[in-house]
């Protein structure tokens, strides 16, 4: 029972790492990124390629995360520009189409170019003891990574001027402009950071089991569910929703199987939208 719970929490943290990017990119840019899973896959597959070249897993992972970040930056400064130039519903729809197209292109390219590559990272010791509970080392490492990533993100958002400007744009883009904040520049930084966090989630997948080139859409789906349940403009909500849904996912997988689990998770998202359209922890204005 406790093992399932711990597994759920860890999976949830991994989901949150993905979903927080969707939340930030939507909050800042008004684009719902349907290629977010592909950011994770690009980071993970790049790590696998670096490991193949003989680099140590730690160095390869760092370079993989960086690759995902550069990929995000390029996407923001090129493909997403037409979406940013429009406003409101048009921006949302253009963003959906562009990122959906991007997800197909990335899937196709990786399948074609690297058909046999997958990321599987083996740790020297399979399990560790944390406070009397035996935990898989992969779980402990993932938790630590996610914890550090979120800690840095919160320090950035709450404690730095740039972070505060990010929050200000999410709350009121016009207000931010009135303060002299350039939303475009801040957005590029956030898309790159979000892509790096997704890359980290992709590497975590490789630690648990295996990350294949085809997994992008599945990761996007899970992340979208978490982002919607958490409230697509609330970073705190995304973190909590990720952990909650991770626990639901773990128990449901154990008792009813993986296929029904996805239905249960989607049902949770629909139910949340019906009860609280802006998400569990969305800002009340």
């Amino acid at each position: 029972m406790i093992a399932i719970l711990v597994d759920g929490i860890v999976q949830g943290l991994q989901l949150s790492l993905m979903a927080v990017g969707i939340t930030l990119i939507y909050g800042l840019g008004g684009v719902l990124n349907l290629a977010h899973g592909q950011f994770a896959v690009v980071g993970g597959i790049a790590t696998a390629l670096f490991v193949d070249k003989g680099l140590s897993p730690l160095v390869a992972s760092s370079l993989g995360v960086l690759t995902a970040g550069v990929f995000g930056l390029v996407v923001d400064r090129t493909l997403l520009l037409p979406a940013y130039r429009s406003a409101g519903e048009e921006r949302l729809l253009l963003g959906l189409l562009i990122t959906l197209g991007l997800s197909f292109v990335v899937n196709g390219y990786l399948d074609f170019q690297y058909p046999n590559i997958a990321l599987t990272l083996h740790l020297a010791t399979p399990s560790v003891n944390v406070a009397g509970i035996t935990v898989r080392t992969a779980s402990a490492v993932t938790s630590l990574m996610a914890f550090l990533a979120f800690l840095l993100l919160f320090v950035f958002l709450k404690g730095t001027l740039l972070g505060k400007s990010v929050r200000s744009i999410i709350q009121n883009e016009v207000g931010a402009g009135l303060c002299g904040i350039n939303p475009g520049r801040t957005r590029t930084l956030i898309v790159a950071l979000s892509a790096m966090m997704a890359g980290l989630a992709g590497i975590a997948q490789g630690l648990f089991s295996s990350l294949g080139t085809e997994m992008g859409n599945e990761l996007t789906t899970f992340a979208l569910i978490v982002a919607v349940v958490g409230g697509v403009r609330s970073v705190n909500g995304t973190l909590v929703a990720g952990v909650l849904l991770g626990i639901v996912n773990a128990f449901a997988s154990y008792y009813v199987g993986a296929y029904l689990t996805l239905i249960i998770l989607l049902g949770t998202a629909v139910f949340t939208i019906l009860l609280r359209p802006a998400g569990l922890f969305a800002y009340r204005t």
Binding site: R167, G175, C179, T285
Partner: protein
């Protein structure tokens, strides 16, 4: 006193419909100038064009002798023009202090000194400094909006309908503080529907109707114009 900003024959449209037509106004350094007129006259559109939120179709906007029309909102702020819209556009889930700090985004090094100045001007904000902006009363939000604008150390403050929706006591207090700012040399361009306040506060005024300037002159002279008295001051 030299000209700080000159609006020269601008036309601003929403789609194909021109809302501001051939408007020219001039504000000299250290002056307080009012733009008065009924709802829908084009006051906000004019202000948004100066602030860089709307691009004029025709005409020029010259600031310190250089054209600024076509610059973006955030670049205009860096030049020292700060717009405080009627909607206030605060960050509701951030504290008063965070809102003010962000106001100093272009001027962050001197935020401490600016904060002291703004909190001295509006002591009520000092009392509420840890409170979320969204929980403030209308009057307090207006003070915060003006305070946030002042944090950037503007050379020109554009105030759009600052008294809308405020209790008379708040309006009086706000104009008292605005007079202090004027005495300290801040240039203010003000749009107001509450004409008596606007004319009492400003040195000169423009009357905008249907997107065009109908009248302009010294505020104290305009107070005596029968048309103004009838339309805006309720004199029959």
């Amino acid at each position: 006193m030299g000209t700080l900003i000159g609006v020269e024959g601008i036309e601003v449209a929403y789609g194909d419909i021109p809302v501001v037509r051939g408007v020219s106004i001039e504000v000299r350094e250290g002056e307080a100038v009012a733009v008065i007129g009924p709802n829908g006259a084009g006051k906000t559109t004019l202000f948004k064009a100066i602030a860089g939120m709307l691009k004029p179709r025709k005409g020029r906007i010259v600031y310190h002798g250089l054209p600024i029309d076509g610059l973006r909102l955030y670049d205009i702020v860096k030049k020292g023009i700060v717009y405080v819209p009627a909607e206030r556009e605060l960050f509701p889930q951030m504290t008063v202090l965070e809102n003010l700090e962000l106001g100093a985004f272009t001027n962050y090094k001197s935020r401490g000194e600016r904060l002291k100045f703004v909190l001295g001007l509006f002591p009520r904000l000092e009392e509420r400094r840890r409170q979320l902006a969204g929980t403030l009363s209308g009057g307090e939000q207006q003070m915060l909006a003006i305070g946030r604008g002042l944090m950037a150390r503007p050379k020109l403050l554009l105030l759009d309908e600052p008294s809308t929706g405020l209790a008379p006591l708040f309006v009086k207090e706000m104009y008292h503080q605005l007079s202090r700012l004027k005495e300290e040399g801040l240039t203010i361009l003000l749009a107001e529907q509450q004409v008596p306040h606007a004319l009492a506060f400003s040195e000169r005024a423009y009357v905008l109707e249907n997107g065009e300037i109908r009248l302009f002159g010294k505020s104290k002279d305009l107070l005596g114009v029968p048309e103004i008295q009838r339309t805006y001051l309720g004199v029959t």
